[in-house]
């Protein structure tokens, strides 16, 4: 990760230091005022302390849109997308990189966003399922998934589609067997594999630009 050159770069997250601040001098100073005031002040202080020592500035481009954010280093790219940017098309299925539901493109490469901290992507370009279509015009892979019914419940679908697009771009969609191998990181519990493979083959053989 590129180091932030700005002078007000926050110190690394330090739970001990933070608890020390909270519990020692500052709280002692407030100990003589009534309890509700203390708790209100504490809460506010808490946020300020957190803001200055726990969060890290982050610049990202998501689906072509620039974001300047301040995030906790422990926030995953997946949780940032879903909980902070309300881009819920990227799905959480395991949090361990085992199911592929959270697949997004980072600078064009497919990545499990649950296994990746948001702060690792400073300055990078993220594409999620919401950014795949060209306005109202679906991406050929999205069209093919609809046509071949490459899903049932739809929950793994964004990850399957992001992975499928990358699979074709990587040149790993040469045969049915190769597609199955290179799509095996994306689990579909409904078992729509037959139709997903058909959709990918259709796009691949159609020769459209993906």
């Amino acid at each position: 990760m590129a180091m932030n050159p700005e002078p007000d770069v926050p110190a690394p997250h330090d739970e001990n230091r933070r608890n020390f601040l909270k519990q020692s001098s500052l709280l002692t100073a407030l100990a003589l005022v009534p309890a509700p005031v203390v708790s209100a002040a504490e809460a506010k202080l808490d946020e300020r302390v957190a803001e200055s020592i726990e969060k890290v500035p982050l610049s990202l481009k998501v689906n072509g849109k620039k974001y300047k954010l301040s995030v906790e280093p422990r926030t995953t790219l997946l949780d940032l997308l879903r909980e902070n940017l309300n881009l819920t098309g990227t799905k959480k299925g395991c949090d361990y990189g085992q199911c592929g539901a959270c697949t997004v493109h980072v600078d064009g490469q497919r990545v499990n966003s649950c296994l990746s901290f948001a702060v690792m992507h400073d300055g990078q370009e993220i594409t999620t399922i919401e950014g795949l279509a060209d306005g109202d015009k679906l991406h050929p892979m999205q069209e093919a998934f609809v046509k071949h019914d490459g899903f049932q419940c739809g929950y793994c679908t964004p990850g399957q589609i992001m992975s499928a697009v990358a699979c074709v771009r990587e040149g790993h969609a040469g045969s049915e067997a190769e597609i199955r191998e290179y799509m095996s990181g994306n689990i579909c519990r409904c078992g729509a594999y037959t139709n997903i493979v058909a959709a990918i083959q259709d796009v691949k053989s159609g020769g459209q630009k993906v």
Binding site: G93, Q98, Y155
Partner: protein
């Protein structure tokens, strides 16, 4: 004007396809509400005993924490009953286990606290700081050890006609005196549903007495009923929204501890609360297919006629709920056997309750029955397909009445031809392809063609669109699409002009999605609502145009902006005028099953054919070909129905070859905690599945002729694969999954 092309039977694309491929479909943890808080559960680390102390101070002090809720400080919902008071009254669609109400621990990872914070990260961090002390008691999590204490379910004790009661026709255990007999034990391990969407809920108290839940549930009305009862609220004050459900396969048929916990948490912090389980928690608190031991005794004559079957089963349940399923149902009616005995028992373990998992008990039972059929055919030196034909039932031998329809023979023929059954050798181990041993196997499945009662509402909108609403959920089969097709044909309207809305408990009453019953049940309600709407529109139009008063329903024609009559273009009633009339156009109808279920035995049937390759050195099994054939009545949508069959077959591959949730009995805790330990089929594990539908309407289940697909898609797949492995290797594996260690 030409009659519009029929939509039923057509492979129409899904009505919600676009939402699913663009990420626009919102699942239960994806609704953006102001001031959202996040809840994370803390689970017990013992399997049985009592909580003696809880230290929540560190968690409470952690940044961003809004509340740490335990049984010591949780508000008590007025309708909650202590858990386990009467396990014989399982609330299979309710929450049998209430959490945060007392200090009892009934399974490992039972929620003992819920931590609420302003962000997910902070809630997750603080949850780790909660410390608990326990007085542990000796737990029992091993089925083998619990078997000696297996018991008859209370429902069977009370009612000898209960499906779980002992069943008898002819002589008891007559197989023991048969000339040619087989006796074998079969085991399936605990399997976990693991839909890709983690179980999640967003709970929002919109007022102190009004609760809205965005919940992963298969039944919006069942969930509403359950939580209204828990909180002592009128049902109308609770709204459950489940527009998109990211798979369930049965595990959202029940209310679970995390839902209660989220509702309590939202009450305490007075903010909307979102709670999503972890994959690890998906093993421990939202059900599973129970570990089940079975024994089959079978006898036959030398010419291949079954003379007796005894089928016994002991399935796992919890200590606080008697979970039962129809493990022995298929054995009672599938083959002609004059003597038949079944015994169903339960064994209670200190593990959370099971819940029906796709093809539920029938899939478990079919593994034993269909394996035994293959074993007996082998003993007889008969082709297993021929053996099944010799014992085919032309009417239901259990209830002694005709089938409403049965085209299983057609399925046998179609499947055998498609898999290339003629290549199968009677002698195991006779076919090979290089280092791979090749084998063929078959397995049969059946499931009741159930139909319940349901309502549906319909109304005309000013733009000429017909809006239909039902509380039913669509967990993936394509319910919304099928209902749109049914409405299109009934109204004579293009599907684009129909909007079917589902997944909201405020909509017209509909049953929980499950048991392959939704098209059978909601389909007729949609059909009847559309007919009622036509009637209503005719009446409204008649007020200004007499031609409509005497018009026949089938002549009513929808155009772009007005209603007209076939053969009478002068009869016109503008939509804009119709919708303005007093009372509006809305109709709600209720559709109920006819009494024909008493005269006929109604079942869907399937047969699955597998070709497997087993590596002779490593024991690796690859399913190289799978053909699934179904007699499921009318197929409303070939594309979505075919997909459902393929998916069920893939689930069967998991059951046969890999799925196995393992508990370390020393701690009573699962050691399989994620999808790296608990394997489900991935792309590379599944061949392209070929599907064949007989597609003959059933004349008795409903006016559509449907019988249901969801369960028969899985039932019989696992034994088809196990039988193919035997045919390839000569090794009979009677305990699933068939992992390489069992073959080398």
């Amino acid at each position: 004007m030409n009659a519009p092309e029929k939509k039923i039977g057509k492979p129409m694309n899904r009505v919600d396809g676009r939402q699913k491929v663009t990420g626009a479909a919102k699942y239960s943890a994806e609704y953006e509400l102001p001031n959202m808080a996040y809840a994370v559960l803390v689970g017990s680390t013992i399997a049985k005993g009592r909580l003696t102390g809880l230290d929540t101070k560190a968690a409470e002090r952690a940044p961003g924490v809004l509340a740490v809720i335990t049984h010591l400080n949780a508000p008590k919902a007025p309708g909650i009953k202590p858990a386990g008071k009467d396990p014989s009254q399982p609330q299979t669609v309710g929450s049998a286990l209430q959490v945060l109400v007392d200090d009892n621990i009934r399974f490992n990872d039972q929620p003992i606290a819920v931590v609420v914070a302003d962000t997910l990260e902070r809630a997750r961090f603080a949850a780790r700081l909660v410390q608990a002390r326990y007085a542990a008691e000796k737990h029992l999590t091993n089925l083998e050890a619990a078997k000696p204490n297996a018991f008859l379910p209370t429902q069977a004790k009370k009612n000898p006609k209960s499906p779980t009661a002992d069943y008898q026709r002819g002589q008891v255990d007559a197989y023991k005196t048969g000339a040619l007999k087989l006796e074998a034990e079969y085991v399936i391990p605990t399997e976990v549903h693991h839909p890709m969407e983690l179980q999640s809920i967003t709970a929002h108290w919109e007022a102190p007495d009004r609760l809205t839940l965005y919940d992963k549930t298969q039944g919006t009305m069942a969930t509403r009923r359950d939580f209204a009862r828990q909180w002592g609220l009128p049902e109308a004050n609770v709204k459950v929204i489940a527009t998109f459900v990211g798979g369930a396969f049965g595990n959202a048929l029940h209310s679970w501890p995390h839902e209660s916990a989220a509702i309590i948490a939202a009450k305490v912090v007075n903010r909307p609360v979102k709670l999503m389980l972890t994959r690890e928690q998906m093993f421990t608190m939202v059900g599973y297919r129970p570990h089940t031991w079975q024994k089959i005794g079978m006898s036959a004559t030398a010419d291949g006629k079954i003379t007796a079957i005894t089928h016994e089963s002991i399935g796992q349940t919890s200590t606080y709920e008697e979970f039962t399923e129809s493990t022995l149902g298929q054995t009672k009616m599938m083959y002609q056997s004059p003597n038949l005995t079944t015994r169903y028992r339960l064994a209670a373990l200190d593990i959370g309750s099971p819940i029906w998992m796709r093809g539920p008990g029938e899939a478990t039972g079919a593994f034993a029955l269909e394996s035994a059929m293959d074993e007996m055919a082998h003993l007889l030196n008969l082709d297993p397909l021929e053996f099944r034909m010799r014992n085919y039932t032309e009417q239901d031998p259990e209830k002694d009445r005709p089938w409403s329809s049965k085209f299983l023979k057609e399925c046998y023929q179609a499947g055998a031809q498609r898999i290339g059954w003629n290549k199968r050798q009677l002698k195991p181990g006779a076919l090979r392809d290089g280092e791979w041993l090749v084998g063929y196997g078959m397995g049969v499945g059946t499931f009741g063609a159930h139909r319940g009662s349901s309502k549906a509402s319909a109304q005309l909108l000013p733009n000429g669109t017909v809006l239909l609403q039902s509380a039913v959920t669509d967990i993936g089969p394509g319910t919304g699409t099928a209902m749109t097709q049914i409405a299109a044909d009934t109204l004579g309207l293009a599907p684009e002009k129909i909007r079917f809305e589902w997944g909201n408990s405020d909509f017209a009453q509909a049953p929980t999605q499950g048991g392959s019953a939704i098209v059978n049940t909601v389909g007729p309600a949609v059909q009847e609502a559309c007919l009622a709407l036509k009637d209503k529109l005719r009446e409204l139009a008649a007020a200004s145009n007499g031609a409509f008063a005497t018009a026949k329903k089938e002549d009513i024609t929808f155009t772009d902006n007005h209603l007209t009559l076939a053969g009478n273009p002068a009869a016109r009633a503008a939509y804009a005028d119709l919708v303005k009339q007093a009372g509006g156009t809305a109709v709600t109808v209720e559709s109920k099953p006819s009494g024909e279920g008493q005269k006929y035995s109604m079942y869907s049937f399937s047969v699955h054919f597998a070709e497997v390759r087993v590596h002779e050195l490593t024991g690796e099994v690859r399913v190289s070909k799978l053909v699934s054939c179904a007699d499921a009545g009318t197929i409303v949508n070939e594309k979505t129905a075919g997909n459902q069959m393929k998916g069920g077959a893939v689930g069967g591959i998991g059951m046969a070859l890999m799925e196995h949730a393992i508990i370390d009995d020393r701690f009573g805790r699962y050691v399989t905690k994620d999808l790296a330990d608990y394997h489900v089929p991935v792309h590379a594990d599944a061949p392209a599945v070929e599907v064949y539908f007989v597609n003959q309407p059933d004349p008795h289940v409903n006016a559509l002729g449907t019988k249901g697909i969801g369960e028969i898609a899985t039932i019989g797949v696992a034994p088809a694969i196990a039988n193919a492995v035997f045919n390839a290797t000569g090794k009979r594996v009677r305990e699933l999954p068939i992992t390489p260690d069992k073959l080398v």
